[in-house]
């Protein structure tokens, strides 16, 4: 997975034909990703607003780890009706996934997964990345 620096809310949808631009994060100890075009912004989570945001981990069906304000950020997701904000553990990075590494869910995984919005798997030398489509949460 190649990485680029910068705010994922500012650098979106510039993927070349062989890569897909994604925002990666860890949820439940598992590397996860979503299309960068679904992310509007990322900002630090302050102590004041720590309890006001749903943790993305639990929304996706993954166990929530590292849920302290200082280690989480607020991710603003573009959904069809309106934007939604979730807290997510750091690090959150803008990356590119090779298209060849992205696979649709195997039949039995698609049928039996309890994870909400899981739509694909990316298999790279570093390991497996769960890919989510947050539009499927609604």
């Amino acid at each position: 997975m190649s990485k680029t620096s910068g705010d994922p809310g500012q650098v979106l949808s510039s993927a070349s034909s062989t890569t897909l631009e994604v925002v990666t994060f860890f949820a439940g100890g598992q590397r996860c990703a979503m299309e960068a075009r679904q992310v509007r912004a990322l900002r630090p989570l302050s102590d004041e607003d720590g309890r006001n945001y749903l943790a993305l981990d639990s929304v996706l069906g993954l166990s929530e780890l590292n849920n302290t304000c200082s280690h989480r950020q607020i991710l603003t997701i573009r959904l069809p009706e309106s934007d939604v904000e979730f807290s997510v553990a750091v690090p959150v990075e803008l990356s590119k996934l090779e298209l060849a590494s992205i696979h649709p869910l195997p039949d039995l995984v698609a049928a039996r997964t309890r994870l909400r919005g899981l739509c694909a798997l990316a298999l790279e030398t570093e390991g497996l990345t769960l890919m989510f489509d947050l539009r499927k949460l609604t």
Binding site: G28, Q30, G61, L62, A100, H103, P106, D107, L108, V109, A111, R112, T113, R114, L115, L118, L121, L123, G127, L128, L130
Partner: protein
């Protein structure tokens, strides 16, 4: 008349014998992939198994039942891997290192199936496969398609179409 000469009756008899067509009894055969799980032998029909793999890396996928052990990379594509132990109500295998993986296709789906060991791939006459006994335990009745004897052991033939269809609906 020479005593060695045949009688007309013998000649005609031999003639009838030679004219009798040779009837070849060709028995229908089927290929079976026989494998072991916890000391018991099971089999899938060979046309349902695309490939047999060993020593593959299984990547855990969270949020799936324990019997869905993860996914494997098969030459650039990924396949799920399931274990049949729970479905067959067998204890889990301790030795994962020597496991083999059958790439199966059934009910319009495909998946890897982890087995303890592949015993053999054989062609057997269909007549050797008998209907499962009525005494079969409840949990096996829908997924067992037959029984045969092979190398002095009982082999339970499993219906992969039914297993995948039922598994996708929540069985196991």
């Amino acid at each position: 008349m020479n005593q060695q000469e045949l009688t007309l009756e013998q000649v005609l008899s031999q003639r009838r014998e030679s004219n009798r067509g040779i009837v070849n009894v060709v028995e229908s055969m089927t290929k079976l992939v026989i494998f072991e799980l916890q000391g018991d032998w099971f089999a899938f029909h060979g046309d349902k198994i695309r490939e047999i793999l060993s020593q593959v890396n299984v990547f855990f996928v969270p949020g799936c039942p324990p019997s869905l052990e993860g996914v494997i990379n098969v030459r650039g594509d990924i396949e799920s891997v399931i274990s049949l132990h729970e479905l067959l109500q067998l204890p889990a295998s301790a030795d994962m290192a020597s496991a083999s993986y059958l790439l199966g296709r059934g009910a319009g789906m495909s998946s890897g199936i982890r087995v303890d060991e592949v015993v053999d791939v054989v062609d057997v006459p269909l007549s050797n496969i008998h209907k499962p006994p009525t005494t079969l335990p409840e949990h096996l009745r829908t997924i067992v398609s037959g029984i045969l004897r092979f190398k002095e052991k009982t082999v339970t033939v499993l219906d992969l179409d039914r297993i995948f269809a039922d598994y996708s609906q929540g069985l196991g």
